[in-house]
Symmetry: C2
């Protein structure tokens, strides 16, 4: 096996077409932030934008800003910014509410499109909220049932049949980082007559996505990971144009009405993607998201993907090269083409090791029971960051720093 030298790594940075983008972000000095797959950092443009939003739009504009500052149109305006990143033609993406709420809307809309069917399919190992929300979608509807991919080894073939109404899957697994074949799976699901819903929380903004070309029915995703929208920033929903006019989802609030200011007594959904809107949105959070998306303007996602694959390949190779004797297992696919932008290692003392890493300025996160998760965001992570992160990991293992009692006290919240 070839070894990788520090000079090799510097050469990769010297050739990086995205290297200057880091300047657009505020990152604490000395920090190697490998947790952008959980919360992206703040763009430097945000503070001024937020100051303007509060003092001018709210403070001075008051109620008139719903029109004059475009608050009312923000869900669609943000959707227009996101569309190109998702391979979605105009008018098919809208931003509103949380990811969990949007999963619920999408699942319910899918059930309504296949009202003669009664089965929801999702993954046993999916992000818990996907499981919890599909469980919630069955509340008060005893005719509905759920099948879980991966439960007792069930593959997609095993669970698909003429009863399946919707299939909800993650494009990238939140733990392993595995990237699934959107086109092939969508075809398979639709061949069985079901509605395909993709959860793109871990791929939007980092993996080129082609929702239209893959003929996806519905998709949702968050904006605070690789899209850097800010803590808990609102989520997006995609619905293919062919479904517009037929979207019925039960969170039928006034923002989704065809004529929200006519104050009609009966709900009449807006014919387009706005049928996924519900009620008033926390506008200040959307303003931050808007500025964050502007940072992506003109960025070539193919270059982002190429660098992402290089960074994750490099990390895995360096862990093998430098830390081979320290008991780490690889939990992510070795083939970069089958991987999102994160790498998961396993270690029985993973929690303490991650705490030690964080104390040394290398921020990843830990997931039960033994997973160390590292995200690599090409907009602000360099190859040298990867080199330094592995050097620190090696030092922590060789000095057994992680055995210090303070690192084993479980205080993790997110």
């Amino acid at each position: 096996m070839n070894t990788t030298s520090h000079d090799d790594v510097r050469a990769l940075d010297a050739a990086d077409p995205l290297a200057t983008l880091r300047e657009r972000f505020e990152l604490p000095d000395g920090l190697i932030y490998l947790d952008g797959n959980s919360l992206g950092p703040m763009a430097k443009s945000i503070p001024a934008e937020m100051a303007r939003a509060v003092s001018e739009e709210w403070g001075q504009g008051l109620i008139s800003s719903w029109n004059d500052a475009g608050w009312w149109e923000l869900p669609m305006a943000l959707g227009r910014k996101l569309g190109p990143l998702l391979g979605a033609g105009g008018g098919q993406v809208v931003v509103s509410d949380s990811t969990s709420v949007n999963i619920y809307k999408a699942v319910q809309a899918g059930l309504a499109m296949r009202s003669e069917r009664s089965v929801i399919v999702t993954e046993a190992g999916g992000f818990p909220t996907d499981l919890y929300i599909t469980e919630g979608a069955m509340q008060g509807r005893p005719n509905l049932t759920r099948r879980l991919l991966g439960e007792n080894g069930a593959a997609l073939d095993d669970v698909l049949d003429g009863d399946v109404a919707v299939v909800l899957l993650s494009h990238v697994d939140y733990r392993t980082g595995e990237l699934f074949d959107m086109a092939a799976i969508t075809r398979q699901v639709q061949a069985a007559g079901a509605i395909m819903i993709w959860d793109l929380c871990h791929s939007a903004g980092i993996v080129p996505v082609a929702l239209d070309d893959c003929n996806v029915d519905l998709a949702i995703g968050c904006t605070y990971k690789y899209l850097n929208g800010g803590p808990g920033s609102q989520s997006w929903v995609y619905a293919a144009a062919r479904h517009h006019g037929k979207i019925r989802q039960p969170l039928s609030g006034w923002w989704g009405h065809a004529a929200p200011f006519e104050f009609e007594q009966a709900y009449r959904p807006e014919p387009g993607i706005k049928a996924f809107l519900c009620g008033s949105q926390a506008i200040l959070g959307m303003r931050a998201l808007s500025a964050a998306l502007d940072v992506m303007d003109g960025v070539d996602l193919a270059q982002v993907r190429a660098k992402s694959m290089q960074l994750t390949d490099l990390f895995m190779a360096l862990v093998d090269q430098e830390c081979a004797s320290h008991g780490f297992g690889h939990f992510s696919p070795r083939d970069a083409a089958k991987r999102g932008s994160q790498v998961a290692l396993t270690h029985e003392d993973g929690y303490a090791i991650m705490q030690a890493l964080i104390s040394r300025g290398v921020v990843g996160d830990f997931r039960m029971p033994n997973i160390l998760r590292f995200g690599f965001a090409p907009l602000y992570i360099s190859h040298e960051d990867v080199w330094n992160a592995v050097a620190i990991l090696k030092d922590i293992m060789e000095t057994e720093m992680w055995r210090e009692p303070k690192f084993s006290v479980c205080s993790a919240v997110t």
Copy 2:
């Protein structure tokens, strides 16, 4: 009838114990803002708080702020600030999601508590989203039906029977401003075995509310009207402690799980009010709301209510005194005890008149078909503001300024 003089009005302001609170708000010079029942103004403390939240909490703290800056606990922390304003003892209020989403959760939770019943009751003349969301709650559940108060003259007595599971009513009517008797109606609804859900969008923060003492089951409300939380700021939910441990609502996201970081496969609701949480919240909006609620700290709601009644009484009396010949009708109760903090006038040219008023710096709003709506927020509106507003209204009517063509072009959005 006694006439009211400018000196009388100045005397009211001189005796106003709340007069100094106006200094806590940023209001454009010369503006008489009578639309705080739609969007409250910005507290002066907000810009610094938002700057801190973005630059320190997000920019520097990054993912650690979920713990260290208390982001994760904000829904409960904000609930603790709201509780005293709602007459709610500890642990019964949480802030999360939009008002529409929370109405949905509450209705579904009520239906689950009365699963042997099948009828939802709400008002024909309620805020449209209350109608739309209760309609949505029936999606995919053909066993459910809805009865509307006020439809064909139906009173509460007419619609209550042993089939009614939940009753959703507004405490203050969004158009007329009528204030309903929470204690009596709650008793009547519960005597019929149904769950009582109050929508407090137009009373929270302005009318003393006693949710515990009125034995209310569930309540929801927004925070961007009289609580001044900012555009679209998150909504709150109240659930009486006696229901805790029995709350099942279908937006069962991971934030509502009893052990959100155990990543269990099955949903297990947190035993308390957190069962109403769903997914990640737009934290920046919550930070603004938090600072806004601090402005209310130490404010006596009884004094707020007393001044509110005085302001609305004064407005109605001055409209009668100064504008008697101009064709206005009163759409709000004349008895201040039966009124929230808003006054609705009717006029066949209401839209143009309101546009003319706004152009003269008196901001209220217009509601179809002919309603001029004025909100009076005692924290920043003076009696002299009311005097001046009516003087401007009189001038607009006497000069027929409202007939200028520019005022009749319907461009209203909110």
